[in-house]
Amino acid sequence: MTETRLPYLDLEHISKSFGPVHANQDISLKVFPGEILALLGENGSGKTTLMNMLSGIYRPDSGSIFVLGELATINSPKDAYAYHIGMIHQHFKLIEVFTSLENILLGVPHNKKEKNNPDSYDKGSAKDAKKLVTKICQKYGFQLDLDKKVYDMSVSEKQTLEIVKTLYRGADILILDEPTAVLTPLETERLFRVMRNMKEDGKSIIIITHKLNEVLAISDRVAVLRKGECIGSVNTKDTNELALTEMMVGKKVELKIDRDEPIHPTPRLEVENLCCRNEFGREVLHSVSFTANSGEILGIAGISGSGQKELLEAIAGLQRTSQGDIYYNDYDDSEERIDLKSKSAAQIRNLGVRLAFVPEDRLGMGLVGDMDLIDNMMLRSYRSGKTQFVDRNAPAALADQVVKELNVSTPSLHTSVRKLSGGNVQKVLVGREIASSPKVLMVAYPTRGLDINSSYMIYHLLNEQKKIGAAVIYVGEDLDVLLALSDRILVLGDGEVRGILDARKTNKSEVGLLMTKQQSAPKEEQEGAAHA
């Protein structure tokens, strides 16, 4: 980049603290017109804080922001729009019961039309807005149904709406906070196409992400944050995954997932013809059969909403099944096969089945957000002991151990888990589940939203469990990881098993093809929305 160009956005010496925490320290950053800047950094490195200052949600403690060379004061999102800055948050800010158009129009005041000028529009009127929005969609290649209600939309549609809304309000610099975290590979590609179109039109885009391959695919320049400081920015074409990881983490990181041969695999969990209906009576699992072996990682691939959640919950006793059987064998302890079908979580536990489950929704299902680390550790063990009183000593020791072994960053063991960052919440949950020394360990999207270091730590933990003979069932969305980590891959599609592949022999395109085979696209997308 030639430094002689006038940057659209120029951040100088921005600092922001929350109490004793320095979220951003002396960060300087430039964004030029018509470029895509990727903002890379681990969890809690201050990416979102920095962007929230640009979009007027926070104010910097010190430092200045220049827009087109002029000193800018951004006190509110409205101010940000006045400087043509628009942010698309990770959690969408849409009114569920409104249509696309109503969401776009919300808060946009009427303006006077110029007479005798066919290109003059009243941005506040629904009629003109419809024309303008259609124009925007055509220009950049968005697909958006303006009369669809938000609650009927898939995650990807909602995201499209957010972007169009931001453009409609006149944003020339768009900030996307982890836009691909919730998208399927196909949807991600579509998003990237649109982003490139916008770039060609001269818009600047800042994209926050963890995923290195995406950074390399879409961005022109990468700025790396570490612990609230800007480590530097490099041109994307001059860098690679390893170099970026090193900048991000501050030390060399091995980006390799070990995979040992399974030791004496024996059938641990046998699922036969499992069928399952959701609360609306729709069949979400159809005649699913598979075997999970001890000492093996079984990966489950599939477009989101293909029945992964229901399958795991059916095994864990949280989902009513309509047909089929789930057998649990533990040849170390007994010869007996135990049928888990139609048993509640409590019954399964009382049968002595050592089943651990890391659900997708960490705070909504796996943990209690308002309780501290110790009480959350206690969830699995509080029943032990004959008295009516709980014993907090053992859970406290466990919490201490998990915090130390998994490097959970928390002010204390008495901090409520809601206050921890996503990665640390996940470590607490995985740590607790593994501590019960499970025979079957089921994990759903365990690295969603986690930084590289934490992700690899989780992969490592899963491998350890495999080594000591647990049957690990891993539901993931990143096909590269699934292929590298699993021994076998089960592909789910529309609630059916599309195939079970040997992960050592298959490849990404084969899995991808099975995932999308015979799929009716709109229905799939709706499923995604419902579960999001």
Partner: protein, 376 residues
């Protein structure tokens, strides 16, 4: 290059910043400050309305509560009762089951106890036998009144707030029916019952209630903090899915907790019948089921903090009714209540300032000044 966007011109003069750094003693100072501000505002209103001298208002407030030995005991007993109802409510509240039916549950306990006194007294039972019957009947009646909405909530997911609220009216109706059936005189009031009075400790009619509530306080503290049930109900309150995931029987937890909540309310009714009123009207619960919600919320459902909030409310209520109103000839009770409401408003409002800081939005230049200070 684009010009400055003209669509959005308004700029707020201040913005709010969430505070995380406030210590407990700072928060306490804020709350005490709010009480002081509230009392001053109250004086101002009284000064305008009845030309009351603020110093006289204060001294009457205090003397209304503590002016005589009897008044002091009355204040502390009132505080104990409010605390007791608050303690009854918090297990349900911590489970996020909004039990607004405290009144009805108290009244049912009260009614059950009075019925024992009335019928067994007429049958000539000895006092101790009547009391032995009163205790379980009152507690059971309260528990049943709490369990009914809990069952509907657990199995049919009905709205517990509305349900418990409606149960209050049914309870009041039952009391009226009972009175209609047994009272033959024209006054319509039940005379004080002679049988089934609780013992007075050392000749003191107030101490028994206070001691029982102290025991309830200790029980609830231990129950919530150290018992498995207490732990379970908190898990259910935070996330039902987590509770199911971990194998907690959510329905049973809801029903069990409401049985406890109702039973404790029934106990309060028992105390009203056997140790205080010896009679019953449809208003016997004195709206404590609602006032105690405030006791519980202001204390953030912490049993020991409720000592403070129940004292404050009892102090204001009694000081106003038997001190200030009497001294300044305010015969309308509603006026006293409205004036007390000013203090409550201040106490509730201060929570906002404990959670947020208000910062002025600086004009553009200030940021760069900060930059010079903060930058290198």
């Amino acid at each position: 290059m684009p010009k400055k966007n003209k669509l959005f011109r308004f700029r707020a003069p201040f913005h709010l910043v969430k505070r995380n750094d406030m210590r407990w003693w700072q928060a306490l100072l804020f709350r005490l400050g709010a009480v002081v501000v509230g009392l001053l505002l109250m004086c101002l209103v009284l000064w305008i309305m009845v030309n009351a001298n603020p110093a006289a208002v204060f001294s009457n407030l205090v003397s209304g509560c503590f002016g005589s030995q009897r008044r002091t005991w009355v204040t502390f007993r009132k505080m104990a009762l409010l605390l007791g109802v608050g303690l009854a409510l918090i297990p349900a509240f911590r489970m996020r089951f909004w039990n607004l039916g405290g009144n009805g549950q108290i009244l049912m306990g009260d009614l059950a106890a009075i019925m024992c006194m009335y019928f067994c007294g007429a049958a000539g039972w000895p006092n101790w036998a009547i009391i032995l019957l009163m205790i379980p009947s009152a507690i059971l009646a309260g528990a049943i009144w709490g369990v009914i909405p809990a069952i509907f909530k657990a199995f049919f997911n009905t709205n517990e707030s509305l349900f418990t609220l409606m149960m209050n009216y049914i309870a009041a109706g039952l009391v009226t029916i009972f009175l209609g059936a047994v009272v033959t005189s024209g006054s319509g009031t039940l005379p004080m019952q002679e049988a089934g009075h609780f013992v007075s400790i050392g000749g003191n009619d107030y101490l028994l209630v206070i001691l029982i509530i102290a025991a309830v306080l200790a029980f609830i503290y231990v129950y919530l903090r150290f018992s498995k049930h207490g732990y379970e109900l908190e898990v259910v309150g935070d996330s039902e899915n987590t509770a199911k995931y971990i194998g907690i029987n959510v329905r049973w937890s809801v029903v069990r907790t409401m049985a406890l909540s109702g039973a404790l309310c029934g106990l309060i009714g028992l105390l009203l019948a056997g140790a205080m009123d010896y009679t019953i009207t449809a208003d016997s619960a004195q709206n404590m089921g609602f006032t105690a919600i405030m006791v519980a919320w202001l204390a953030k459902f912490d049993p020991f903090a409720m000592l403070g909030t129940s004292f404050l409310i009892a102090f204001l209520d009694n000081g106003m009714a038997s001190g200030v109103q009497r001294a300044f000839g305010i015969t309308n009770n509603s006026i006293g209540q409205i004036v007390i409401g000013i203090v409550y408003f201040c106490i509730i409002a201060v929570e906002f300032f404990i959670n947020y800081r208000i910062r002025r939005n600086h004009p553009t230049l200030d940021v760069s000044v900060n930059a010079e200070k903060g930058g290198k």
